[in-house]
């Protein structure tokens, strides 16, 4: 594996050359991806509560040390609808569950359903927060540069970059669309059926705008020799120190080990 110097190319201005600093932020993006992959696999493959709870503890401790707990809280909040539905479905409809907590007419929530639902939620949260932590501690440009350095094709990098950057861009666009439609009298503060009528005026420009933006971005890239033959150079690459590589390889080995142990039945 090539050793990439942490120092930037000479002659680059500071705002380009500056490497991310601070706990976890300064770690190589590829290493953070490998750690996140290990956490996701551990949360789902290790049976019972141990896997998801251990992953959650590690992710929360890392986020606290990196001062990203608030951002992680926002991501956790965003999962509320899916978490709620998983809990409700398992609580009332888990197949084979026969230990009711109470009788609510035709419905009977069960203890097994509750525990299974909570465990599933813990796995889902571990998954979301592990990925979220990478997002919160990694600049998109650094991630893409690192992926490019590792040989990922430029088209694949474009897809990853466009997908990641589309999230904040879409949120900003959606905010402006809401303002424009409210300015034309669309009711977003009244009764629910009136608000429901606003779905098309809001969703239409968001979807069309996103498609247009991707098309324009593609053309702008092509106009700047995106598809030119030959190897592309990188403006700068994120640091990849010996410690980062050690963590990365350890994560990869641990991931493979967990899968093998699970497959051979040694994890229970």
């Amino acid at each position: 594996m090539t050793v990439v110097p942490a120092a930037a190319e000479p002659g680059l201005p500071d705002y380009v050359a500056r490497q991310p600093s601070g706990f976890y932020r300064s770690i190589n993006p590829g290493t953070k991806l490998a750690v996140a992959a290990l956490e996701v696999v551990a949360a789902f493959v290790v049976p019972g509560w141990v896997g998801p709870l251990l992953v959650l503890a590690v992710v929360l401790a890392t986020a606290a040390a990196a001062r990203r707990l608030r951002g992680l809280g926002t991501i956790a909040l965003a999962t509320t609808p899916i978490v709620g539905s998983i809990l409700l479905i398992n609580l009332f409809l888990l197949p084979g569950a026969s230990d009711p907590i109470a009788r609510l007419g035709p419905l009977a929530p069960t203890w097994s359903g509750l525990w299974f639902g909570l465990q599933t939620v813990a796995r889902l949260m571990a998954f979301s927060l592990a990925i979220g932590l990478v997002y919160l501690t990694t600049a998109v440009d650094d991630l893409l540069s690192d992926l490019a350095r590792r040989g990922l094709g430029r088209r694949a990098i474009f897809v990853v970059g466009a997908a990641v950057q589309m999230v904040p861009a879409t949120i900003e666009r959606a905010g402006e669309i809401v303002e424009a439609q409210r300015s034309r009298g669309m009711d977003t503060e009244g009764r629910i059926w009136r608000r429901a009528r606003g779905v098309l005026p809001l969703a239409g420009p968001v979807v069309f705008g996103a498609l247009t933006e991707v098309e324009e971005r593609t053309m702008a890239l092509e106009a700047r020799a995106f598809s030119a033959p030959g190897r592309q150079t990188l403006l700068r690459v994120p640091a990849d120190r010996a410690a980062h590589r050690a963590i990365r390889w350890a994560a990869v080995f641990a991931l493979v080990a967990i899968v093998v142990l699970r497959a051979t039945g040694r994890l229970g």
């Binding site: 666009r173 409210r182 300015s183 977003t188 503060e189 005026p201």
Partner: protein, 289 residues
């Protein structure tokens, strides 16, 4: 004054007052600082200033999209803070800069009808408003076209028509001439002239100084969230104010610069420049004879 009654009628055009309005975005960016501004009923006023000077933030307070961090926005003396945006939309029509952030309908006519329908306009009255608005911006022949089959400048005119059709007493236009060719600019000017003629209050944000000088009777210049100049185009674009204008990265209209260079006085518009030049020529001819 009610939104429902005001829409479609110019009988009651409310005055606007910004009382020491300050506003900071959630990230802490202070966009407005103690803005005090009174806009009388039926005035035509242009707000100019460099990017980030607070122009768009200011006008978004008029229909309640933004609420002041401190201070008050009054329409006819009534604080707009407790009023819903949907209700204020009947009083203040705001045409956004980017048409693609609002167009959604499959037909041009449906798009134009969206605003008036939200205000409760129905039937023949609705049809008449849609037809008139499309004629005003020159899109009458495109009523059945899909908005996204129009070019950008015509989509922008469509967005303008969709607000014009609401017939609000106050019309606010955010960068209406950006991306328009000469014919499009002429359409926008006609819309502003018609609304002013009808006694509506017209407020425009623009970087097009010629458009500002030609179409508006009052110009407000903003810089870092404050009003730094406020007056008639002759005064704001007069030579004495140029240092202030240049501090906000604005250039006075060409007619004003040419008039000043030739010693003709304040000539912010092409017509005032030609008139001053002709006047001087006649005066010289008279003195020779």
């Amino acid at each position: 004054m009610t939104a429902g009654s005001a829409a479609g009628s110019t009988a009651s055009v409310p005055s606007i007052e910004f009382e020491a309005v300050s506003f900071a975005y959630p990230d802490g960016t202070r966009a407005l600082s103690d803005v005090a501004l009174r806009i009388g009923s039926g005035e035509s006023i242009a707000i100019v200033g460099q990017n980030g000077s607070g122009k768009s933030t200011l006008v978004r307070h008029l229909n309640g999209l933004l609420r002041p961090t401190s201070g008050r926005v009054l329409l006819d003396g009534r604080d707009v803070r407790p009023m819903h945006v949907a209700r204020l939309a009947g009083l203040v029509g705001l045409a956004f800069q980017n048409p693609d952030r609002q167009l959604f309908a499959g037909r041009v006519s449906t798009e134009v009808a969206f605003g008036p329908r939200n205000l409760g306009v129905r039937g023949q009255e609705l049809e008449e408003r849609v037809r008139a608005a499309l004629e005003e911006v020159g899109l009458a022949a495109e009523a059945a076209t899909n908005p996204y089959d129009l070019g950008y400048s015509r989509r922008k005119l469509l967005a303008l028509a969709s607000v014009v059709a609401m017939r609000t007493p106050i019309l606010v236009l955010d960068e209406p001439t950006t991306g328009q060719d000469a014919r499009g600019v002429a359409r926008v000017r006609a819309v502003v002239a018609a609304a002013t003629e009808e006694g509506r209050t017209v407020i425009a944000i623009s970087h097009d100084m010629a458009f500002v000088a030609e179409c508006f009777r009052r110009v407000v210049v903003m810089r870092v969230g404050r009003v730094i100049l406020d007056g008639r185009p002759e005064a704001v674009f007069g030579e004495a104010a140029w240092p202030e204008l240049r501090a906000t990265y604005l250039e006075p209209p060409l007619a004003a610069v040419a008039g000043a260079r030739l010693g003709l006085g304040a000539t912010p518009t092409a017509s005032s420049f030609v008139a001053a030049l002709s006047g001087r020529a006649w005066a010289r001819r008279g003195s020779h004879t």
